[in-house]
């Protein structure tokens, strides 16, 4: 009896050859997925390190406060231009996108929701160059190479982003809050605005900021619309404007080492802005989620 229990215990504790093989596969795969995760973050490290190394000699104060044709050239006009173009893009497409998201979440019939969501999906998939060509074909012949054409192209890209994010966060607002407000006799529009949108506001703003960050890095649509210039342009959207992505793209192809260095430095500035925005926004969202 006791011998039998011993045998069974032995059978249970000592792995068979098959079990050992299964464990080996398990450990191999464990290492493999870990390596894959490491490979996934490797490019970010390599890229940041290389951009930092290449751009360091060019990051002098005058780089930020001078224009390309000054004696110690800088990218002030590109920084100014990028902020104006993306700023206006968000100012125009933000309210439209948020409104559309509110409509989809609060008012639309299931049919309209299905159509609207499909349209958003398609628009989210539109490559940035397609938006650029669209503005180039329709607006550039009328307005010329201009900030307006660039803003239109960028807005096509940011509009669906903000509409989607607004709708998604509004969906998370509990239906009971809306019902409570309506039961108190609050009109539907006030409920939508001061209960639903108010509750979801941090999430909606997150979407707006991420759309800003996306538009800031767009290059292809700007090349065929705002086109770039050496002049400093404040608020004149009817003519060409410079932007950081344009500078990077154009200088990178230059034969002049100084220009290539400036392309690296501009890339660092652009990347630093984009990463800072994302770290702040996502860091906040993560904190509020865990809190």
């Amino acid at each position: 009896m006791s011998m039998q229990t011993g045998t069974i215990a032995k059978l249970l504790t000592q792995p068979t050859a098959g079990e050992r093989a299964r464990q080996r596969v398990n450990w191999t795969m464990r290492i493999l997925v870990g390596v894959a995760a490491f490979l996934a973050i490797l490019p970010l490290i390599a890229l940041i390190a290389f951009v930092l190394l290449q751009s360091a000699p060019f990051l002098v104060p005058s780089f930020f406060f001078n224009n390309p044709l000054d004696t110690s050239p800088g990218i002030l006009n590109a920084i100014v231009g990028s902020l104006q173009l993306t700023g206006l893009t968000v100012l125009i497409s933000g309210p439209i996108g948020i409104a559309g998201g509110v409509y989809l979440s609060e008012f639309a019939s299931p049919r309209v929701v299905a159509i609207g969501e499909t349209a958003i999906d398609v628009m989210l998939g539109v490559p940035s160059i397609v938006a650029g060509v669209f503005a180039y074909l329709i607006l550039v012949p009328v307005l010329g190479f201009s900030g307006w054409a660039a803003v239109a192209a960028l807005s096509i890209l940011t509009l669906p982003i903000m509409m989607r994010s607004t709708q998604e966060v509004l969906r998370l607002v509990p239906q009971a809050i809306r019902e409570a407000s309506l039961a108190l006799g609050v009109p539907v529009w006030k409920t939508a605005l001061f209960v639903s949108v108010r509750t979801a506001l941090p999430g909606i703003l997150t979407g707006v900021i991420l759309a800003f960050s996306r538009a800031l890095g767009e290059t292809a649509p700007l090349l065929m619309t705002a086109r770039g210039t050496n002049a400093e342009n404040w608020l004149d959207f009817s003519t060409t404007m410079n932007a950081m992505p344009i500078v990077i793209y154009q200088y990178s192809a230059a034969a002049d080492d100084l220009l290539i260095g400036q392309a690296w430095a501009t890339a660092l500035v652009l990347m630093a802005i984009a990463l800072t925005i994302n770290v702040l926004v996502r860091g906040r969202t993560v904190n509020s989620r865990t809190a």
Binding site: R22, V25, N26, M29, R30, L32, V33, G34, A36, A37, A40, I41, P43, L44, A46, L47, V51, I96, G97, G100, V102, Y103, E106, F107, A108, E117, T118, A119, D121, V122, M123, G125, P127, S128, I129, V130, A131, V133, F134, L137, I138, L159, M163, Q175, V188, W189, S213, G217, T219, A220, L223, P245, I248, Y249, A263, W264, A267, L270, N278, R282
Partner: protein, 327 residues
């Protein structure tokens, strides 16, 4: 989504006004979408007057023609086969690398990594998506491209190049740019998307399914192979498709490393072009409605490709929701 349609008053009450204002937002998106389609179809129309869409898709000759003594353009032929080949090759290379690595990395993040490692790692991967594509292009043109040429590309060419003509390369003088390097850069750029989507779907596999299989004595990997991957399969395919769409449309980064050479390259390690890079490098010189039409036709083909992918993903993900993978 469940609307606030408790009562719908007639006339222009504050409620219906608000409803209309917000509805206009959605309408603008719809108008933009229809406008895109109309513009690309309309502007590409002059091209179809001189050649058929079949020629556009099957010819590798891209010639703006010559002007004869009457001032007429003759012998113009706009064949996009080279660009279409480049788009297909780069985006498939991108998916070939990004899909397995991205899905495996997502598995690590969800199934193996302790929360202390998983949260920052996920965050870092998401940051890669925030880097502007022109910065990727600059990095690739200045550094990555040469590294790839001397490592992976050299290895593939010297191991398989002798048997497979598409993978051959002269080891003494490798080309300055290549389709393969553009594709590999795209793999890096779409990786965060594959990881993010895969992670969501792997996470949504119900814990009871895992526990059931573990209770039967399965190892962790067996749970992943037999339970998680099959359950999340449709979502994973959807994520890879989304990333494929992103790769197809990527422009500046590819333009900076692919070399922008006409025609179908003899090898993946030779310079080429994609539909997007062709638009970017040719549109400034395009004058006249036929040449502009050729650009619109390229834009239209990109739009149709990405739209088909978006719709396919939509159908897939809806099916996934119905089969109950997601809570």
């Amino acid at each position: 989504m469940a609307g606030l349609e408790l009562r719908r008053t007639g006339g222009l009450s504050a409620d219906s006004l608000f409803r209309r204002i917000t509805g206009t937002g959605l309408l603008v998106l719809g108008v933009a979408l229809v406008g895109l389609i109309v513009a690309f179809v309309g502007y590409s129309n002059p091209l179809w007057a001189i050649q058929s869409p079949i020629d556009f898709l099957t010819s590798a000759t891209w010639s703006t023609g010559t002007i004869d003594e009457n001032g007429q353009v003759v012998d113009a032929l706009y064949g996009a086969l080279g660009a279409l080949f480049g788009t297909a090759a780069t985006s498939l290379i991108a998916v070939l690398f990004a899909a397995p690595i991205g899905i495996l990395a997502a598995i690590y993040l969800v199934e193996f990594a302790p929360p202390r490692v998983s949260a920052p790692l996920t965050f870092i991967v998401e940051l890669i998506a925030a880097i502007p594509s022109v910065v990727f292009g600059l990095w690739a043109a200045g550094d990555l491209s040469n590294r790839l040429r001397d490592t992976i590309e050299w290895w593939i060419a010297s191991s398989f190049g002798r048997f497979i003509p598409f993978l051959s390369e002269d080891p003494e003088s490798p080309a300055a740019d290549s389709v393969f390097r553009a594709g590999f850069l795209l793999a890096i750029m779409i990786l965060p998307m594959v990881v993010a989507v895969s992670r969501e779907f792997i996470r949504s596999v119900p814990i009871s399914l895992r526990e059931g299989y573990i209770g039967m004595g399965a190892t962790k990997w067996e749970v992943i192979r037999d339970v998680i991957l099959p359950t999340a399969r449709i979502g994973l395919i959807g994520g890879v498709l989304l990333a494929l769409g992103r790769a197809i449309g990527e422009t500046v980064a590819v333009t900076m490393v692919i070399g922008n050479a006409e025609g179908v390259p003899s090898s993946l390690f030779q310079p080429g072009q994609t539909v997007a890079s062709k638009i970017a490098s040719n549109i400034a010189e395009a004058s006249g409605e036929i040449a502009i039409g050729s650009m619109a036709a390229l834009g239209l083909s990109l739009f149709l490709l990405t739209t088909m992918i978006s719709l396919a993903v939509r159908v897939l993900i809806r099916r996934f929701a119905f089969t109950g993978g997601r809570a």
